[in-house]
Symmetry: C2
Subunit: 900 residues, 2 copies
């Protein structure tokens, strides 16, 4: 027999004491440790005991036999329960009923089995009847127990594959016979009959008697819980969640208590503070003569437990009708908050005037409440600021930063797309960017709906409250521009059919939305809703400011922003960004006054033609950079040179080509020829990034000139500029060397002609696997910083384009991927390249500055990885800056904790 480490198999709890405590999750499982802790700190927990996880392990190692001595320990623990609860297991007059639940180290919701009301049989039912005077409740409990036991322990469902639940069939038959519509119509007699019929069914089907002996029932239930550890679904769940099989589950056996034993009984749920607002008062609801599920089910309307908030006339609070029990509960509230130092959610039951606490845990709360509670707890000196910072999930800050739909508002969802840019937008539908501009100019709120967007739509997108496209992925034009603008945006809504001609779109279910109809877009979920939903504006309260001050103090990595415009930069700076980590110059190219010059540049037949067009762009780019430098006074601004394939700037349709030809005086044929020349089967793998700058050094030179001339002007105006020029898509160190030479040459020229000294850095994005692998050579070629472009790095490492890979949802739902690598950086694969890149780079240039500017830079999980990898900063979109800052702070705090 396999050795069992612990001599003790069974840990009792109850009567304000326990053998175990809250730290013993490995041995007692999460639930068992929690019950022990509650008992230990003096809460009136119904008595019970926990059979340890080691018994489970031994059970499986030893051919499903229990270790010697277990039975004896269980018997002793049961005696203790009987004594504390004043009832006896199997006693026909005063029966103790038990529950039996699983409880592993980690929560495995819905994966494992539970049996309630163990101990009921033809005799004990009588005792329960006399104790409750509620035959309907008693027989309902009894028939439920038989069905649950028949299923979980005796396996009646497993015995007949795939067919309908046989117990449910009997219920349906009965309801049909009696003409009932609802279960609630069943009488006590009906339920008694069902209990009988269930037993007959079990005997017929399994050739087994339903066990009448309570001890047999109990051991059957314990065995079933242990068995459920190895059901295929539990095994699969653990595999997906990387939980080891040898952890095992504990089994918790606990006395049942009932809130429905008459008018001196009650049940309820309470929060130690208001979970919606975070206000520090006791908040809860209860029902008299009811079971816990009645509170949840909503058949009866529960009443508030006290008068803190206004109470409707005629409604009695718990403090009114059971003042003694309420006072005890209120004491427990204080006890809990002092012990757990957090807002607690607790379930209570009063059984014939005796208060029992069934469960307590950190209460779920809104982001607003979470912030207020965390800050208040610090003020109350219950927790430190560092602890407070760990009390919010970084993502929760989203709720604090964006307008949101009123959670109480009724939603009629028409369709769903990809949540490309968060927020809540409400407006009238238009299908043309120009129309969006016109209506917005008149003060109307509009939602711009397009098949997909293009550079021409920029102004309309800006004017709209939100953008909805039928096509495109998370990095489509609409998505990228939307995020850049902080504009609510839902893309790739494949279930809507857009008809420009009729100016309407139709959903899969056949509902048609016409121009001028109101819709609401939820950028956080991708939901498209009918009508005008109410929104709530973001308010940055004093608490938020306090909280972010602590964040700033705690974190030890820089947080920058990806911003292409002075406006975005301003927003990000207000949110605490410490610089720009990525300024994409090409987005400036899309604006209407520039795109024609860009096109002239591309269509030029020689270098002189290109230079002429570039000269038109120069003053515009210079002005852009100047304004950004001004906003970012004193902070680094990382500017990326031209990146996207040239054809992205060009026109597509016959009509557009003709218009452009007329505008710039080219022949239609020559434009078409150029379009054909620029066509690529896989543009993502083509002429883009620094390859453009190598092919056309004059483009890089113009951009460098714009940057340095803007910097010169700013310096003359006493603005502190820290330009960092970033060359994209470097795959070979000689590419970097060539582009840096162009930039350095222009820098010298400008500094000489302007008579100004500019300190600047030239670095590179690491976004090709080869760049990471040869980062030592790239650093050796003079790269003064690295910024990991993890969007592209992920695409190339996986060999898939995020936009094209329509199979990603399938991969996630089938569990081939545990997480979307475009949301959370893939540490196993892409993360290795990141580490290789950093190590290689710093092996040549110790202390090389390294950051991340892919969208992962705003993902808290990825930020932890970035901190661990030794990066100097992360960069993310303006609205994610506070989130990133909090994630960085949490990493620092947790690291400090781990070290101490």
């Amino acid at each position: 027999m396999a050795p069992v480490k612990a001599a003790k198999y069974v840990y009792s709890f109850g009567a304000e004491s326990a053998d175990g405590n809250g730290n013993m999750k490995e041995l007692l499982g999460g639930k068992g440790a929690n019950l022990a802790e509650m008992a230990k700190i003096g809460l009136p927990v119904p008595s019970g005991f926990t059979i340890t996880t080691e018994v489970c392990t031994a059970f499986y190692k030893n051919n499903k036999k229990y270790p010697a001595g277990l039975k004896k320990e269980v018997a002793a623990a049961l005696k203790k329960i009987e004594k504390e609860m004043g009832a006896k297991f199997g006693d026909p007059r005063n029966p103790l009923l038990l529950s039996c639940r699983s409880g592993a180290r980690a929560s495995m919701p819905g994966m494992m089995d539970t049996v309630l009301n163990i101990g009921l049989n033809e005799d004990t039912v009588q005792g329960l009847l006399s104790k409750t005077n509620n035959p309907r409740f008693v027989y309902d409990s009894y028939r439920r127990f038989i069905a649950m036991y028949g299923d979980v322990v005796m396996g009646i469902k497993a015995a007949q594959e795939k067919a309908e639940d046989p117990f449910e069939l009997l219920i349906s038959e009965l309801k049909q016979k009696k003409g009932y519509v609802d279960d609630a119509e069943m009488t006590a007699e009906d339920l008694q009959q069902l209990a009988h019929d269930f037993k007959v069914l079990i005997k017929d089907r399994l050739q087994l008697e339903f066990p009448e002996d309570p001890m047999e029932q109990l051991w059957g239930a314990i065995g079933a819980v242990f068995e459920s550890w190895m059901t295929p679904r539990a095994v699969a769940y653990r595999k997906i969640n990387d939980l080891p099989s040898d952890w095992g589950t504990a089994v918790n056996v606990q006395a049942m208590v009932f809130g429905n034993m008459g008018d001196d009984s009650a049940t309820g749920v309470a929060f130690s503070r208001d979970p919606a607002t975070g206000d520090n008062y006791f908040y809860g609801e209860y029902l008299t003569n009811a079971q816990g599920e009645d509170v949840v089910a909503g058949i009866r309307t529960p009443s508030p437990i006290n008068h803190v908030l206004p109470v409707a006339p005629g409604v009695k609070t718990l403090s009114d009708i059971m003042p003694e029990q309420y006072r005890e509960l209120d004491k427990i509230r204080t006890l809990l908050e002092n012990h757990y130092r957090d807002m607690q959610d607790l379930e209570f039951t009063i059984q014939q005037k005796k208060l029992w606490i069934l469960q307590c845990r950190a209460g779920k709360r809104t982001a607003k409440a979470a912030l207020k509670i965390a800050v208040d707890l610090v003020k109350e000196k219950k927790i430190t600021p560092d602890e407070a910072l760990l009390r919010l999930m970084p993502e929760q800050l989203n709720q604090l930063l964006l307008p949101t739909f009123d959670p109480k508002a009724e939603r009629e969802v028409l369709a769903q797309g990809l949540p490309a840019s968060p927020g809540a937008a409400v407006g009238q539908v238009v299908f043309a960017a120009s129309e969006a501009e016109e209506l917005a100019a008149r003060g109307e709120r509009v939602i711009l709906v397009r098949l997909e967007t293009s550079p021409e739509d920029i102004k309309g997108m800006h004017a709209a409250q939100g953008i909805l496209t039928a096509r495109g992925g998370m990095t489509s034009h609409a998505a990228v521009v939307g995020r850049g603008m902080g504009k609510t945006c839902v893309v790739g809504a494949a279930d809507i059919y857009v008809d420009y001609a009729r100016e309407e779109f139709t959903t899969k279910s056949g509902y048609t939305v016409k121009k001028g109809d109101w819709i609401s877009l939820d950028g956080g979920t991708g939901c498209i809703m009918k009508g005008r939903l109410e929104t709530i504006d973001a308010r940055l309260t004093g608490d938020f400011a306090t909280f972010m001050k602590w964040v700033q103090k705690a974190k030890n990595i820089g947080v920058r922003t990806n911003a292409d415009t002075p406006r975005d930069a301003q927003v990000a700076r207000e949110f605490g960004a410490e610089g720009i980590g990525l300024c994409r110059t090409e987005h400036m190219f899309f604006e209407e006054d520039r795109i024609t010059s860009v096109r002239e540049m591309i269509l030029a037949s020689d270098e002189d033609g290109r230079k002429a067009a570039l000269n038109k762009l120069l003053p515009m780019q210079r002005e852009d950079f100047y304004r950004i430098f001004k906003v970012m006074d004193g902070m680094p601004v990382t500017i990326r040179t031209l990146d996207p394939p040239l054809h992205e700037f060009l026109v597509k349709t016959e009509k557009e080509i003709e218009e452009l030809a007329a505008k710039i005086g080219h022949r239609v044929e020559s434009i078409k020829a150029k379009l054909a020349e620029l066509h690529e089967a896989n543009p993502m793998l083509g002429l883009r990034g620094c390859r453009l700058g190598i092919q056309y050094p004059e483009i890089t030179a113009m951009q460098a000139r714009a940057i340095f001339e803007a910097a010169s002007r700013a310096i003359r105006e006493k603005i502190k500029v820290i330009p960092e020029i970033m060359i994209p898509l470097i795959g070979h160190e000689r590419e970097f060397r060539e582009q840096k030479a162009v930039i350095d040459r222009v820098a010298r020229e400008v500094m000489e002609s302007e008579g100004v000294k500019i300190k600047y850095r030239v670095g590179t994005m690491i976004e090709l696997p080869r760049a990471a692998l040869t980062a030592d050579r790239i650093a050796g070629a003079g790269a003064e910083f690295f910024s990991f472009g993890t969007n592209d790095l992920t695409q190339f490492t996986y060999g898939l384009s995020r936009d094209d890979a329509k199979f990603i949802p399938t991969y996630l739902s089938d569990g081939i991927w545990s997480r979307d690598p475009f949301v959370n950086l893939d540490e196993n694969g892409v993360g290795q390249l990141v580490k290789i890149g950093i190590d290689n780079g710093r092996s040549v240039v110790p202390g090389l500055k390294v950051g991340i500017c892919g969208e992962h830079g705003g993902d808290p999980r990825t930020i932890h990885f970035c901190c661990d990898s030794g990066m100097d900063y992360v960069s993310c979109s303006p609205f994610r800056v506070p989130i990133a800052r909090l994630a960085a702070a949490q990493h620092a705090i947790l690291s400090k904790k781990r070290e101490s």
Copy 2:
């Protein structure tokens, strides 16, 4: 002053002895060591000396000053030359003339400077006149010396940037004045005048007298050679070729000898064996009273040195007119072959009856000659078989394996494309695949010319001698299929304009080729030539067989082939392939009888529809595999499951869609909708590889069934089958696990129903960076072999598509890339991933079988890398199998050498 290691700066050679020898390349440079070696073994080398590379290093370390003592050593060495040559440097009656040449460790062709005829001045010219009686030669030498010295040493060209050569200008003026067309028309007097004018020019321009003092001339030349080590072009050359700057160059000073000092003088070139055939006889040409360059220049026709080959009437051989010198030369031939144990190419000059050897080196030879010489030398016991194997470049075998154009045939090149598949093809142009089939059926030879090819063209491609396309890259349909068929193929010939309607194509220069016109395609160079060029068929002589037997014995890595058809497999097996490393099942899908079923499968609206279509494909695939197993009896056959994006199999044009709709009974609209659904912006990064099999497991199941049913039949027929099923584009171990489960299930089913036991392996391609990075997990998921798909791995690591990246030629010509990473595996980047993949895989499965199946598998340089990385085999196209085998053998031999 920097210390100089060697006490001796100057090494003399000549008079059948030398201070140095052939192994002293580091100190004496390549040329200096070679001259020393020649003298040492007794060749009559004109006397001279070498100033060591250490002097160069000291020169640069010490602010361009020579080490003390150098002058003295040079003076002594010069004395030695004078004595041995019987002439005196600067002597007006009997002047010794010198050459001064650079000579680094590694050859740097054309990068560094040379000065000839040092010692000529107004006085010594007289001595030379009386010795040669050839004033034209003397003044020509004189004016050339002045120009060369004026340029190289005095820097007259460098002094006037970018302008034309001033000496050439003077020559042009003179020729214009005299009405000459050719330099040869200039008289001795003209040349004398030029010499004078050159000196005047130098004085005018540089305010410097041309040095008349021979010693000053000599030191000027020595200094210039040392200086030329650091010219920008030399520095750049070393950077590109990874040659260290601190190697330095040696300087070789040597007596000039002249073959044009009258009828007792001569000059010539000879090979110790016939360089064209390899036959073992003395082969060479000479001219009396001539300089070396006259032999090369082709103004006079040289005569054969002997009567081994038939001699035209009236022609005198060297053995006829100078029998004594010929006998000496013939002795030298034997001496050289015995010493160098290889065929030698030597330059000789007879100056007034005295034979001098100016240069000897391993002679350039044709592939045929190389093979014969190598095998003969083994027979003659001069070298071992291992040494013989090192005497051929693996690529040379190409010449032995393919029909080639007669090198003597006149070529009129019309245009050039990419050399997609080698060989020489001659035929009449047709523009339709059907026509190619028809004409070929009638026994005509045709070249199929298309804009690009598609699956429908397969039969026509097969029927044609060669394929020419105007579009597409090295991995386009035409290129891949062409290589697979071993068919001469030129693709992406952008300079031809194909007009299907007029059935003609026009070249950039305006030449039009009509249907029925003859053209010739060189698949090795991509040249498209007018007319019918003569071709020479490949013959595998007995020597070739002998040679390949040695190859087989020497190599210690497997060589497999990439073959999709029984025919290719047969060819490869005859060439020595030891298995199939990559059998692409999709190529089978393109054949006409199958493509419709494939399309039905893709267009099916549900799994049942797909299965019905797959059931039609099953017997065809089964037959394919059976026939391949039969050919490959006893050898492993690696079959890759479906890889390309589905839309590759679909139709494109409106007409094709209509035809397909009619054929398979679908609506045109539904086909169009499916096409739209399958459209991807970057298909290379989309739904392909195992992603297809995950989405549609029934495809994998059908292919597995075809493989195992074919294997069962083969086994029953006593054929030994070793199937290895390879899953493409794995990026996550769970993808592999799922696909392997499908294959294993089908294997069990087939083995059970057929009652046969089949041993098989399931493995994966490693072609995504992520697969290499997580190869440990993939091996842990049960992969039984890895095959590196280095085409895709290179594309993803570089983030570029070979077909789209039109900038690759620019990158190569600009030196951003030293080598094309799609030809030679990029060891610095992609190679790291290969090593990481192998190490990771074997860390979990020691001894895991690993190979390569990308096109790099046929590249000798890459094969060396594969051997070093510990791969078990390489796999390449059938016609590259012998090349790969030789490369593998050479690696083994060189490794053995390095170790011993």
